[in-house]
């Protein structure tokens, strides 16, 4: 089945200068390999289109079942210079929750927010 990322993972963004880090956490250990396999740095960057102007570096954080995406050039030149209404990019992590992932039917009961599927 194809579902939005929000059913297999949660996310949080943080700011430093013009760089936003968007960490994505699998809800269960069984869902983590799907995340690792399907949410590559290239696909992540492509999903954000030109909202991320620079490089995206992906760190695998296996002990937290997480991927940390460090997105350069994502905050309009930096928090104080940015013309974006959300200049800290606090809401930026929500965009990736719409990314579609393929999940085997056998893992259906591990999905979060099944009422909202």
């Amino acid at each position: 089945m194809r579902v939005r990322l929000q059913h297999i993972a949660h996310a949080r963004s943080g700011d430093k200068g013009d760089t936003s880090n968007i960490a994505v956490f699998a809800y269960t250990p069984a869902l983590y390999p799907l995340l690792k396999e399907q949410l590559t740095a290239e696909r992540f960057k492509a999903y954000y289109r030109s909202a991320i102007r620079g490089e995206v570096v992906r760190y695998e954080v296996d002990n937290l079942e997480a991927l940390n995406f460090v997105c350069h050039g994502a905050l309009g030149g930096g928090v104080s210079r940015s013309l974006c209404l959300d200049n800290y990019g606090k809401a930026l992590s929500a965009a990736i929750l719409g990314f579609e992932v393929e999940v085997p039917d056998s893992l259906r009961d591990q999905l979060r927010g099944r009422d909202l599927l």
Binding site: Q6, H7, H10, R12, G14, D15, K16, G17, D18, T19, N21, A23, F25, Y47, Y48, R49, S50, A51, I52, V57, Y59, V61, D62, N63, L64, A66, N68, V70, G77, G78, V79, S80, R81, L83, C84, L85, D86, K90, A91, L92, A94, A95, G98, R112, G113, D115, L116
Partner: protein
């Protein structure tokens, strides 16, 4: 039985709520209550304000509110306070705290001020390159407002050893504020990178307050927490090896779970194996998280590597102005009208010769937050705000943005909603740059005061 110390959060930023700090002071059974009140541009903004307003004392504008809320409970229970509310005037903040201690009837309390983070007068001699773009820092000379070095925990530890009940600082790295009490209580050597790594990692979990107890977390239907209007700020019960249980005062809203803790663990972290702080390089990739009870998560095995020979310097510069405003459409065709309004503004900016480095005209309700990342098939909103912003060299140019939005009132299009009266629609931009300085070149000092 080995010793455990309880360290609580009192603030995660300047505008944070005060009542959870009071609750932690009263009911947290704390050994230490720590406040983090600065953002990247706080010091530069304070410098700008101090120049314009000689009455501005230069420390946290909520110092009085925060201290009045916690001092009596802390003094009664022997809870010591560590806080970076000193901003550009730690001595002034310490003296103000002394004033409140006297007022509240607590004489003989030692208050320390840690100075030395401000290096505006010598930053161009002490630094070489700008980290963000590799240019010489000397290119910042014409626009320089302020420079401050991120100090570590050592001077706070010294002040605690000297018997200070309250330590107030200028710029200190956020996690260091929370780790200093651990170094003092457990006698950790400043070069013991394993323990400091663990302790600093716990400090990192505490520095953003409610962000580890359910704040910045709730997502209805996916991640729900109880009473998200009543968060408790976090408390760490720290052991001598730097492992800790993260918890909060019982009866408060929010939650401490593996999910809240790991989200905060990577907050503002780039390489999770190498999180640079003045005291140590933290490695989160070895951390273990274990739920050990309701709202109790045990965090252990955070790693540490030797600290770097340099400290980070933050340099604030004047970089012009931003003018911004917004107006509204609703009902059938709202987006169509918003798009025409955008076109009108673009033409108007040409007619009035707006000189801008960058202009952004967004549709709030559709793409003002995610910008280019907004999916092309996003549904059309019933209501939409046209939000316009421009960055300019001068305030005069920035003012044109609001003046052209004014014109939309009677010279615009049908069904245009506007806010009148409006707040100030221009603001100054303080650009923040980073550099490095050898740590031995920036000695900090401690001054003591007594109530």
């Amino acid at each position: 039985m080995s010793k455990t110390i309880r360290i609580g959060s009192g603030a995660a930023w300047w505008g944070d709520r005060v009542e959870p700090a009071a609750l932690n002071a009263e009911r947290g059974e704390l050994d230490y209550l720590c406040f983090e009140t600065m953002a990247e541009a706080t010091v530069s903004a304070a410098q700008v304000r101090a120049r314009r307003d000689p009455a501005f004392p230069g420390y946290d504008t909520y110092l009085d509110d925060r201290m009045r809320a916690v001092l009596a409970a802390c003094m009664r229970q022997g809870t010591r306070i560590v806080s970076n509310q000193g901003w550009i005037n730690p001595d002034g903040a310490a003296q103000r705290i002394v004033h409140w201690l006297r007022e509240l009837g607590f004489p003989g309390v030692k208050v320390a001020a840690v100075n030395g983070s401000l290096i505006t007068d010598r930053v161009l001699q002490l630094t070489d390159r700008i980290l963000e773009n590799g240019a010489p820092t000397s290119t910042l000379a014409p626009t320089l407002i302020s420079a401050e070095v991120y100090l570590g925990a050592e001077k706070i530890v010294e002040a605690l050893k000297e018997g200070a009940q309250i330590v107030v600082t200028g710029r200190v790295a956020d996690p260091s504020i929370f780790m200093a009490p651990m170094m003092h209580e457990f006698g950790w050597d400043p070069l013991d990178h394993e323990r400091l790594g663990a302790g600093n990692g716990i400090g990192h979990l505490l520095e953003c307050g409610a962000q580890v107890t359910g704040g910045y977390f709730s997502d209805p239907g996916f991640k729900d927490v109880p009473e998200p209007w009543n968060f408790g700020f976090p408390i760490a019960e720290v052991d001598a090896d730097g492992s800790a249980v993260i918890t909060k005062v019982a009866g408060t809203g929010g939650a401490v779970t593996i999910e809240t803790v790991r989200e905060q663990m990577l907050y503002e972290v780039h390489d999770p194996a190498n999180y640079l702080t003045p005291d140590v390089v933290v490695d989160f990739t070895t951390a273990r998280l274990e739920a050990v009870g309701p709202d109790r998560v045990r965090v252990s095995h955070i790693g540490g590597k030797p600290r770097t020979p340099t400290l980070k310097v933050s340099i604030g510069c004047t970089e012009g102005f931003i003018g911004e405003d917004m107006f509204f459409y609703a009902g059938p065709g709202a987006l169509r009208r918003a798009k025409l309004a955008k076109r009108i503004l673009e033409e108007r900016f040409r007619i009035v010769k707006l000189e801008a480095e960058e202009i952004r005209i967004d549709f709030l309700g559709l793409n003002a937050i995610h910008g280019e990342a907004t999916p092309s098939d996003a549904p059309e909103p019933y209501e939409v705000a046209v939000r316009v912003a421009a960055r300019t060299r001068t305030r005069e140019e920035a003012t044109k943005v609001g003046r052209e939005v004014d014109g939309m009132a009677v010279s615009g299009i049908a069904h245009t909603g506007k806010r009148v009266p409006h707040q100030d629609r221009t603001r100054e931009v303080i650009g923040v740059w980073s550099s490095l300085v050898p740590r031995q070149k920036v000695p900090a000092t401690v001054n003591y005061f007594e109530s």
